[in-house]
């Protein structure tokens, strides 16, 4: 039997401050080990969807439900969701003065381990995993001596997001336009990293504007999100249709 890691039913969400509805009834199921891609025009609600799943509180869920590993996700705080196994690679990662990437990741990894009842990693154990992953994603270790994301180029920030994903080993990774602003080499590195992480226990929900990421990552499903609703779902053939006809044909 197929296990669903994420089940979204009739999800409606609005911007807390203005009351403007962004998601107008989303239904989406993601099975264990599946990779889903969400495409769609600007303002369609792609980013909102992944941020609502991650728990951002500037959005308010007005109706519907989200279950993650059969648990009600909407009852959990942002940090609980993360420790439960959700990871969001940000479109615009924050720069945090004075906070070192190593220290930040150590705290994050330990928080997750603690929640799972595992002991904290020793500095040596952690450093080994840290250094190995840095090499895999090809981030210069000098860069990581700076404050987190400070003075990082756009591409370096995105690589760092993927690096954090590798460190936290989520069950569901949400990638919010991780490919935008990347040169070809960085795009390939991100694609390779995602492919390396793909296994039966890990699912992906990838928001993108560009078909070129899909040259590296072959999705199982593609959804088109327009006006806060999924207008169409299919396999990667859908991407070709978008290229030929644009989003207008789905509206």
């Amino acid at each position: 039997m197929d296990n669903k890691i994420l089940e979204i039913k009739n999800l409606k969400a609005l911007v807390s401050e203005t009351g403007e509805e962004i998601l107008s009834g989303i239904d989406l199921e993601i099975g264990d080990g599946e990779t889903h891609v969400i495409m769609g025009p600007n303002g369609g609600g792609k980013s909102t969807l992944v941020n609502v799943i991650a728990g951002r509180d500037s959005y308010e869920v007005s109706s519907g439900s989200i279950k993650f590993k059969s648990k009600n996700l909407l009852n959990m705080n942002i940090d609980e969701r993360s420790r439960e196994g959700i990871f969001l690679a940000f479109q615009y990662p924050s720069e945090i003065p004075g906070v070192r990437p190593w220290q930040f990741m150590k705290a994050a990894v330990d928080a997750k381990r603690k929640a799972n009842g595992d002991p904290e990693l020793s500095v040596r154990e952690f450093s080994k995993i840290y250094d190995d992953n840095l090499k895999k994603i090809n981030i210069n270790s000098d860069l990581m001596k700076r404050s987190l994301n400070e003075g990082f180029s756009g591409g370096e920030k995105k690589r760092n997001e993927v690096f954090q994903m590798m460190m936290l080993e989520p069950n569901l990774a949400l990638l919010d336009e991780t490919d935008s602003g990347l040169d070809v080499d960085a795009l390939k590195a991100v694609g390779d990293a995602v492919n390396n992480l793909r296994d039966s226990k890990r699912s992906f929900l990838i928001v993108t504007h560009y078909q070129r990421l899909l040259d590296h990552i072959k999705p199982d499903f593609v959804h088109i999100l327009i006006n806060g609703k999924i207008a169409e779902s299919g396999n990667s053939d859908l991407v070709k249709k978008i290229e030929n006809d644009g989003y207008e044909s789905f509206a």
Partner: protein
């Protein structure tokens, strides 16, 4: 009896004791000014103090602390606190202020090679810190306990720790005055550390520092205030040609007080770099008042301060850059960034530039904000609890300042102190 009458008696008693005979040229103007003007309580036209409520300063008739009281119960614990970050009396030069009348030969301090007491007749007290500049400085001048010494090349590359060990009695006035001359080509570090014990005391320490040609001073200043004490701390620096002055201030607010620094850049090609962090909490009020006077050409100055404010505390930052007509090619910058941890906290940040030269480059900027919600979201999305994330953010904000302290022991000391201070700040 007004509070001024009280201090008038105190000043007259001091003058009678003739202790300050050699220093009359500073004492007399200080006495006159204070008796006429008192503390700077009037709000009107009083730029330095207008945001603070100084009335508490007059709520007690403080009497001068004496040596026997000053040998506070805390002496050993002070050494212990310093020891925890590596400062100890075996390896380091520690001058415990108030230890004995002659500070430079106290029981814990034997004049090391390269440091010597100035003879009273050669002491330039009051020449850099003008007693008529401010009521606090005036009172200090009028009844000061004076220590005056020079440091020369034989002490280069070393650090002198000056420790103000705190008071052990209520209603005491502490008016230390230090006149320090850094001689030509000398490079030293001075760590000035104030442990304010939790008594109702009025501390007005004044340091006058003269930097000779091509000398370099790194001055780390730590003020650890308490809920009861008041600490109005003044540093006055005079720079000669090619000299360099660096100040790193680390201040945890007393009930009310200030870190007041003025640098007079008198010699061409001199540089000063003033940095600091201030923490305020409860209902404390703390003033950071910085003035840099560019009097000579080709000088470079930098002011960079940060504040972390919580509860219903209030902080003031007023930074002034003054550029004299002939001080061409001046390069001066100023920045003040504040993190407001709670709704009741208040910051008044006030940059001021007064420029009479036409070929200069000056900049200033100030911010005040809460903990950034986007950043918190980002950190929490990695599994960190809100409180952990907030503390890490504040720590990061503070660390940028602490990390620029070059003295390893003081960096460690201030880092440890930050860990002690942060839990007392309300992150709500």
């Amino acid at each position: 009896m007004s509070y001024i009458d009280h201090y008038k008696k105190l000043i007259e008693a001091e003058l009678k004791s003739n202790k300050n005979f050699y220093f009359m040229r500073a004492v007399a103007p200080g006495a006159d000014y204070f008796i006429e003007n008192g503390f700077p309580l009037k709000k009107k036209g009083n730029e330095r103090w207008k945001y603070l409520d100084l009335r508490n300063v007059t709520s007690s008739n403080f009497i001068k602390s004496i040596y026997e009281e000053r040998m506070s119960t805390d002496f050993e614990s002070v050494l212990e606190k310093l020891n925890s970050c590596g400062i100890n009396i075996v390896e380091d030069e520690i001058l415990i202020v108030g230890d004995e009348d002659n500070h430079l030969a106290g029981r814990n301090f034997i004049e090391p090679e390269g440091i010597g007491a100035s003879s009273p007749s050669k002491t330039n007290i009051g020449e850099i810190a003008n007693p008529e500049e401010d009521g606090f400085i005036a009172l200090n001048a009028a009844v000061a306990d004076i220590t005056s010494f020079w440091i020369d090349e034989n002490f280069s590359k070393k650090a002198l720790n000056i420790v103000f060990a705190g008071q052990s009695q209520d209603e005491r006035l502490v008016t230390e005055r230090m006149c320090i001359k850094i001689l030509k080509n000398t490079e030293v570090t001075i760590n000035e550390i104030h442990f304010d014990s939790n008594f109702n005391t009025l501390n007005i320490p004044v340091l006058e520092i003269h930097l000779d040609k091509d000398s370099k001073l790194i001055h780390n200043k730590v003020i650890l205030g308490s809920e009861k004490d008041m600490n109005f701390n003044f540093t006055r620096v005079f720079q000669e040609e090619g000299s360099s002055y660096q100040n790193n201030s680390f201040c945890h607010s007393p009930s009310i007080g200030s870190n007041d620094i003025k640098v007079i850049m008198s010699g061409e090609g001199s540089e000063c770099d003033l940095r600091g962090i201030y923490f305020t909490n409860n209902k404390n009020q703390f003033n950071t008042h910085i003035t840099v006077d560019h009097l000579a050409p080709n000088c470079k100055s930098n002011q960079f301060f940060k504040g972390v404010l919580s509860d219903e505390s209030k902080a003031v930052f007023s930074g002034k850059i003054f550029v004299e007509k002939g001080a061409q090619k001046t390069y001066a910058t100023q920045k003040d960034l504040n993190l407001l941890m709670s709704k009741g906290a208040e910051i008044d940040t006030k940059p001021s530039l007064e420029i009479y030269a036409d070929d200069v480059e000056c900049s200033h900027g100030a911010t005040a904000g809460n903990v950034d919600e986007n950043t918190l979201y980002y950190m929490m999305s990695r599994g960190l609890k809100k409180e952990t994330a907030t503390r890490m953010l504040v720590r990061g904000f503070v660390d940028e300042m602490i990390n620029s302290i070059s003295d390893d022991k003081i960096r460690k000391f201030t880092s440890n102190q930050t860990e002690l201070i942060l839990p007392n700040l309300a992150f709500k």
